[in-house]
């Protein structure tokens, strides 16, 4: 199979280029894209990419495959290389460090910005804080985020304003804490987001939903935050 991989080594390349590699795939087995990258790396050590769990839970290997963001380890080659050619590029919109490795700095900065930790100053006593199964269910579809950045780097609003717009991943996390009945900082959290950019730059394009490898829905979470901001204003 023909695989076209984005290559860039800052020490030796003046500019990035696409490298075509012919990879022989084992018959009768649908490899994941990560397996294919591993096969290439066995022959050419200089190819760099991130990987860890290889089962879609650590979020290391977010890449762009034939135009769509996803995790290389849980994306079968047959699913993306429908034309017979696999094209692997780094996640779009972030600076490339080398080959498929991007600088996630601005993405993590937006995550930290929303204060991604529970805030509750009421003493809890010697046991857990109680939470009903119904209240706990409000966190489903939110807490599962793996910070792979597939969503935020597929979002035109984030490409345009990565410093000011929190982006779908950060906002999903923001809502995860807004929705948690154990968190007491709702007002402060909303006040921090109440400006024309942080939330309202979302244009409902929904690329985030279409690429999320965990099947999460950041657009819906952003909708909830908008509602909360609007009812706070009135």
């Amino acid at each position: 199979m023909l695989v076209s991989v984005y290559r860039y080594n800052p020490e030796t390349d003046r500019e990035p280029y696409m490298q075509d590699v012919e990879v022989s795939l084992p018959e009768g087995k649908d490899l994941m894209v990560l397996d294919v990258l591993n096969l290439i790396k066995e022959r050419d050590q200089s190819l760099s990419y991130r990987r860890s769990c290889r089962e879609g839970v650590c979020g290391s290997d977010g890449v762009n495959m034939n135009g769509k963001n996803g995790l290389a380890c849980i994306t079968p080659v047959s699913e993306v290389a429908t034309s017979g050619k696999l094209v692997v590029r780094p996640l779009p919109g972030l600076p490339v460090i080398r080959d498929l490795v991007v600088d996630m700095g601005v993405f993590y900065k937006q995550y930290q910005r929303i204060k991604p930790y529970l805030q509750n100053s009421t003493p809890a006593g010697g046991r857990e804080r109680l939470q009903s199964p119904e209240d706990r269910a409000k966190l489903d579809g939110l807490y599962e985020c793996i910070l792979c950045a597939c969503c935020s780097t597929s979002c035109p609003s984030f490409w345009w304003n990565p410093e000011k717009f929190v982006g779908p991943s950060g906002l999903l996390q923001a809502y995860r804490f807004l929705a948690d009945t154990r968190d007491e900082a709702t007002e402060e959290r909303l006040a921090d987001l109440d400006d024309p950019f942080s939330v309202f730059r979302c244009r409902g394009i929904m690329n985030c939903v279409s690429v999320c490898p965990k099947g999460l829905n950041p657009t819906k979470a952003i909708g909830h935050i908008r509602d909360m901001l609007l009812s706070r204003a009135t």
């Binding site: 080594n9 800052p10 020490e11 030796t12 790396k41 066995e42 050590q45 200089s46 760099s48 990419y49 991130r50 990987r51 860890s52 769990c53 290889r54 089962e55 879609g56 839970v57 650590c58 979020g59 290391s60 849980i74 460090i97 080398r98 080959d99 490795v101 600088d103 996630m104 993590y108 930290q112 204060k115 991604p116 930790y117 529970l118 509750n120 809890a124 010697g126 046991r127 857990e128 804080r129 109680l130 939470q131 009903s132 199964p133 706990r136 966190l139 807490y143 599962e144 793996i146 910070l147 804490f177 948690d180 154990r182 968190d183």
Partner: protein, 589 residues
Amino acid sequence: MTALRKLSFDAVVIGGGGAGMRASLQMAQSGFKTACLTKVFPTRSHTVSAQGGITCAIASADPDDDWRWHMYDTVKGSDYIGDQDAIEYMCSVGPEAVFELEHMGLPFSRFENGRIYQRPFGGQSKDYGAGGQAARTCAAADRTGHALLHTLYQANLKNNTTFLNEWFAVDLVRNQDGVVVGVIAIEIETGEVVFVESKATVLATGGAGRIYASTTNAHINTGDGIGMALRAGYAVQDIEMWQFHPTGIYGAGTLVTEGCRGEGGYLINKDGERFMERYAPNAKDLAGRDVVARSMMTEILEGRGCGEQGDHVFLKLDHLGKEILHSRLPGITELSKTFAHVDPVNAPIPVVPTCHYMMGGIPTNVNGQAITQVNGKDQIIPGLYACGEAACVSVHGANRLGGNSLLDLVVFGRAAGIFIEEQLQQGIEYNQASEEDVDRAMGRLNQLDSNDNGEDTAQLKKELQSCMQNYFGVFRDGEYMKKGREELDAMRDRVANIAISDKSKAFNTARMEALELQNLFEVAEATAIAADERTESRGAHSRGDYPERDDKNWLCHSLYHPETKKLTKRDVNFKPKTVETFEPKVRTY
């Protein structure tokens, strides 16, 4: 000497998984200058893959639950070579550590009364084995590790831990007094080599499951801390004890939680028989993991395996119904579809025992202080600590119970943090390292970078993994292990002679993989020698030529000494502080 940039911290924790981040959190909370140095961004650590939960007697599912029952189960599960003082500490302090996690925000699943949800797991009992199956594993659906790891990362952000993310620790720096004074590390993005100096160095580098060809472990589980300790000349304990998880997905190796069986799933052979009823009439599918893994292998070897090759069995879940699967085991449903092309709602998942966990590691006391033995006596290694899977404190002995790894890492990450905090409060100073000390620690990296013609990492890694898989798996035998040791002997010089063709600096993963393979080799060799020398069967260590447990000779820890490549014995602790000793008994389920 090479002029290296130097960074100084009160404490440096190597590893950003659950153990490392629990330790760094403890010290950062008290305002100490704490670094968490990790080769991957923290939430990419392997703790993220833990599924089923964290076992702890928080008395939620059963208000009468008792940590002493948990202790009994853990001692029995360890096949009696877990240290009873350490197990006592873990089980009794556990509830406090778990409630802290909840207070930090961990999104545990809940019971109707609002308390934390607990599910049954293997090897759990009430009333010291007399009261039937317990439900003691606290869960966030089947994504407990993910929830725990993210929560700890968030708590560290809140408390201003310094993260050295994507930094690779190469080797420990020891001064002439034998004090560990820090570590040599590579900042991966730039390739710069830095001396990270510290008053306390904590190894929380996790396991090394990648020594085997088939493993549930992440690519990054390469035993870096064990490699560093062995190269520094320190002994490792019970390193022959490797857990094979009963339910790795056939072909892919990815984990399917024991929680599946806790929720009512069971294993069947090709005849559709629930075979665990024959091997463990009481606990059945929830017997100890070593017992279940061996039973599965026996079914396969005796011709009752499933599939065309008859080389796996099935995990049946469809009878639980869609609702239970989607609410309690959503991650498993997803993994099974992706890697086995099976929807467990309709069809059973093909599974096979798969390397999962390293019970052995760097011996420590309950404060996380690393220990070595000199002339048969315990000696604390000044400046060095270990916790989590890299450590062997030992709470798991010869076989770990499901859900005890997450408890181990939060309890002992926390304990190490608390102890170092106290030491720092009393005022310890930096110990000086000379140029020679730093140069010595640079030796391996310099050798790799200056070697132009040598062995290929990928090729050697395959050979190593297949050797371990063939000769040191679920069933072991002296004759085969001898062959395995010979193969490893022949590999040692080649591993030292790895050459990388790409010597560039920026994000050079070839350099890291070469260094990782050298760590894997250290762990594999220690495993092989210790496994061959322990002439008995106990827990996960099962030998055809020595099928019985031998309490007369082997009711003890093994210590593997890297400089002599010899095994010595170390006493197991049978003196818990507040309860009676649990005496060794025949272990049945």
